[in-house]
């Protein structure tokens, strides 16, 4: 579960996020939308402990990410907007490194890496250094790293940037399957067709404030109207 309670973030006189409150339950696929500079990445960085909120609380799986950060961090996986990796480590080593940070044993990391190689079609690339990777390859390694410890919550910032159509399909299928298995996915993206395809709830943020929330289910579907809604609300 993710719960944001009146969260704000100011950088000097600039208010990047202004009094946001949200509650997302386990198993939901949540789409976080907004124009460039609306405050999406800032919100995600506060949720993952990379930024400290100026006011308010971010609860992940019931734990405050800033006052009780370790149990909160154990419960989620994070995919940042830019898939930065340690250039001198191979993909496999990076996955071992992340697994180690999550206190996983070498055997269980090895098992998860084998799964990831199949799932994300990492092939022989996993044993090359990150400095040789393409953007898509980096993105797949980072996604694999976010899932290596079987998190209950997955926070993803722009997961499809730089992916070719095949990789995009791969990522979408994985996320869909994981959400069905009960994983809470919090995804920020600009790709509205992907949101329509995957998300069962959305929120639109503009100049740091949530201006719209909507649920998509059997009874209520976007039916290609999300783009119109988005453009109308964010103009």
């Amino acid at each position: 579960m993710i719960e944001l309670k009146h969260v704000s973030k100011k950088f000097g006189s600039l208010t990047a996020v202004d009094d946001i409150s949200l509650k997302i339950e386990a198993g939901q696929f949540f789409g976080f939308l907004g124009p460039n500079g609306a405050g999406k990445t800032t919100t995600i960085k506060m949720m993952t402990g990379l930024y400290k909120p100026t006011s308010g609380q971010c609860l992940i799986s019931g734990y405050d990410i800033h006052t009780n950060s370790l149990p909160a961090k154990r419960s989620f996986g994070y995919v940042p907007d830019q898939p930065y990796l340690y250039e001198k480590l191979t993909g496999r080593e990076f996955l071992y490194f992340v697994g180690g940070l999550f206190h996983m044993s070498a055997e269980s990391i090895k098992r998860k890496i084998e799964e990831a190689v199949d799932l994300f079609e990492l092939g022989s690339f996993i044993d090359k250094r990150a400095e040789e990777y393409s953007q898509g390859m980096r993105q797949r390694i980072v996604l694999a790293a976010a899932l290596v410890h079987d998190p209950r919550v997955l926070i993803i910032d722009e997961p499809m940037v730089g992916l070719d159509p095949r990789s995009m399909r791969l990522v979408k299928d994985t996320l869909k399957r994981k959400a069905k298995e009960g994983l809470l996915v919090f995804m920020s993206t600009h790709l509205l067709d992907i949101v329509e395809e995957l998300c069962d709830r959305i929120a639109i943020i503009k100049t740091g404030r949530i201006i719209h929330e909507q649920v998509q289910n059997e009874a209520m579907r976007f039916n290609g109207q999300l783009e119109t809604i988005f453009l109308e609300l964010t103009k």
């Binding site: 000097g12 930024y51 080593e93 180690g100 940070l101 206190h103 790293a145």
Partner: protein, 570 residues
């Protein structure tokens, strides 16, 4: 030319904007920088003046020998500027993303080269330039030189002298990259280290300072004559010699003889700049392509992967002894290990430092420094102590200061994981301190053995060495965290940033205080030891306590600064 001015204008505007930010933190940063750099410059000025006065008025070595010593110092300075530019140039001229961007624009490659070279020169040489200028002022003020001496010396002799070192570095680098594609980077870098160390060794062997002093002193007290015939012929081709000759004739009021050297330095700089421009027009883009290919083709199977105990996913008993049973500690340690040994700029510099320690210990062993005079004994003890401290400060600056910055853009993976940042910080501090402590103690024990110090002095030196290791490690890690540059991938550039210069000057100040605390009690200790034939260790308890207290204070303040900085928004 227009595009060149446009880019330069843009760069200077962004630099000035950064300098005059209207917030209190930025102001304090600029103020503290000015304060420390100002204080340091004054210290260098004062020292240069005092040393000149001492050598001429007390030691009576004469003007000729003074300038030959100056020539030797300038040679070391030249090599330092040259090596600094060579190392940093690779990052700024070949690996920088900005170069890739500029090359994609309709700007000639020679202009891109010139832009990056100027940027690189001021970035990597500004602290050395400051030291040199302060020393020049101190030296000139002893001789009461007029204002125009400083003007011409700074702009037409000293800066061109530094530029010669920088231009030679960058032209050499272009040549090296062309060769690297054929013989491989590792072999080339290894050969380069050997060439530079040999150059320094050969210089001092050829100039032979001991023999020179002996030859000049035969004419005592008539030592102010010009003994140019004693200079080895090779010296005439070295820029440090030209600068020294210019200074020698200038301070002796013979501007007629100074002028040719003045023109020689300046015109050589102009000529070399022209050569560099021509070389850049022809080779820069070509070598940039080669460097890009080398980057891409560099094999993934590094030498270290053969060290199976350090492989991720494997665990041996040997590794368990060092790493414990915590998977987080193991993950961090192995990551740091591989990142270090797969980056040639890291392990190569480490190798150079190890070589320097060995050279120092070997040369110390060949010296006869078991002196029977209290003051000289105190001086010899403190000079070696200071050298050890200076060496450790350099190691800490190069390897400890960038430790947090090396988390790089990938810090998100650590920050969003269930790892306490405090633990990460102490992990870095712990390993760095252990390595530096071992280095300090090797240096201390090596030098105390050579001097034939008694047990008390050995213990005192070891204890003070431990304090210095603690203070300098924590100071550089704390400052390195405060001034962290996560966007900078090159540790050398991190270690030559303004924050790094501040940390280094801070460590020099700390070492000066430690020496100040020890000097009088140590002198008394040696006096009593020589006069009464017995040692009274009590003389040293209090100063060592003071040194320990200062070091602990630095440790606490730096660690607190580091711990609060590492928690900042990423």
């Amino acid at each position: 030319m227009r595009e060149l001015l446009l880019v330069l204008n843009l760069k200077s505007a962004s630099f000035l904007k950064g300098l005059f930010l209207l917030d209190i933190r930025a102001f304090l940063k600029v103020f503290s920088t000015l304060l420390i750099f100002g204080g340091f410059s004054f210290g260098v000025f004062f020292m240069a003046r005092s040393v000149t006065a001492y050598l001429l008025d007390v030691a009576h070595i004469g003007s000729f020998l003074l300038h030959r010593f100056l020539s030797m110092a300038l040679y070391v300075f030249f090599v330092t500027v040259n090596v600094g530019n060579l190392v940093v140039c690779y990052a700024t001229l070949y690996r920088s993303k900005e170069v890739g961007f500029l090359i994609s624009l309709p700007i000639s490659h020679a202009k891109v080269f010139l832009l990056r070279f100027v940027d690189n020169f001021f970035y990597s040489s500004s602290t050395l330039a400051l030291i040199g200028l302060a020393a020049l002022l101190g030296y000139g003020s002893y001789f009461d030189m007029p204002w125009y001496f400083y003007f011409f010396t700074v702009f037409f002799v000293f800066l061109p002298f530094m530029l010669i070192a920088g231009v030679i570095a960058v032209v050499t680098l272009m040549g090296l990259i062309a060769i690297a594609a054929r013989i491989g980077v590792r072999w080339l870098l290894g050969s380069l280290v050997v060439v530079y160390l040999s150059a320094v060794y050969m210089y001092f062997r050829t100039t032979n300072p001991v023999q020179l002093v002996g030859e000049v002193m035969k004419y005592y007290p008539d030592v102010n004559k010009y003994f140019g015939y004693l200079d080895p012929p090779l010296m005439r081709y070295l820029p440090n010699h030209w600068v020294t000759e210019f200074l020698y004739w200038s301070v002796n009021g013979n501007y007629e003889r100074a002028t040719p050297w003045f023109f020689l330095v300046f015109l050589t700089m102009v000529g070399l700049m022209a050569v560099a421009g021509l070389a850049a027009r022809r080779f820069y883009y070509r070598t940039w392509l080669v460097a890009s290919d080398v980057e891409v083709m560099r094999g993934s199977k590094g030498p270290g992967q053969r060290i199976s105990i350090m492989q991720f996913g494997k665990r041996s008993r040997v590794a368990g002894v060092f790493l414990g049973t915590n998977p987080q500690t193991e993950a961090l340690f192995k990551r740091d290990f591989w990142m270090f040994f797969r980056d040639p700029s890291q392990w190569l510099h480490f190798l150079v430092m190890v070589l320097l320690i060995m050279i120092f210990l070997v040369s110390l062993g060949s010296l006869d420094i078991q002196i029977d005079q209290p003051l000289m004994r105190t001086v010899s003890f403190l000079v070696i102590f200071l050298f050890n401290g200076f060496f450790i400060a350099s190691v800490a600056l190069r390897f400890v200061f960038p430790a947090v910055s090396l988390e790089s853009d990938c810090f998100w993976s650590v920050r969003s994981s269930p790892l306490e940042l405090r633990k990460l910080y102490f992990h870095k501090l712990g390993y760095a301190f252990a390595l530096i402590l071992v280095t300090v103690e090797i240096l201390v024990l090596g030098s105390t053995t050579v001097r034939g110090d008694d047990k008390v002095l050995t213990a005192i030196a070891a204890l003070c060495g431990g304090c210095v290791a603690l203070a300098l490690t924590s100071l550089h890690l704390g400052a390195g965290t405060y001034f962290a540059m996560f966007k900078e991938k090159n540790p050398v550039r991190v270690a030559s940033s303004h924050g790094a210069s501040l940390a280094f000057l801070g460590s020099m100040l700390y070492l000066a205080i430690v020496v100040g605390v020890l000097i009088v009690p140590l002198h008394r200790y040696f006096e009593i030891s020589f006069l009464l034939g017995q040692t009274i260790p009590a003389w040293l308890y209090l100063p060592v306590g003071v040194v320990a207290t200062i070091s602990l204070l630095i440790f606490f303040v730096s660690t607190r600064l580091g711990l609060s900085s590492i928690q900042r928004d990423f």
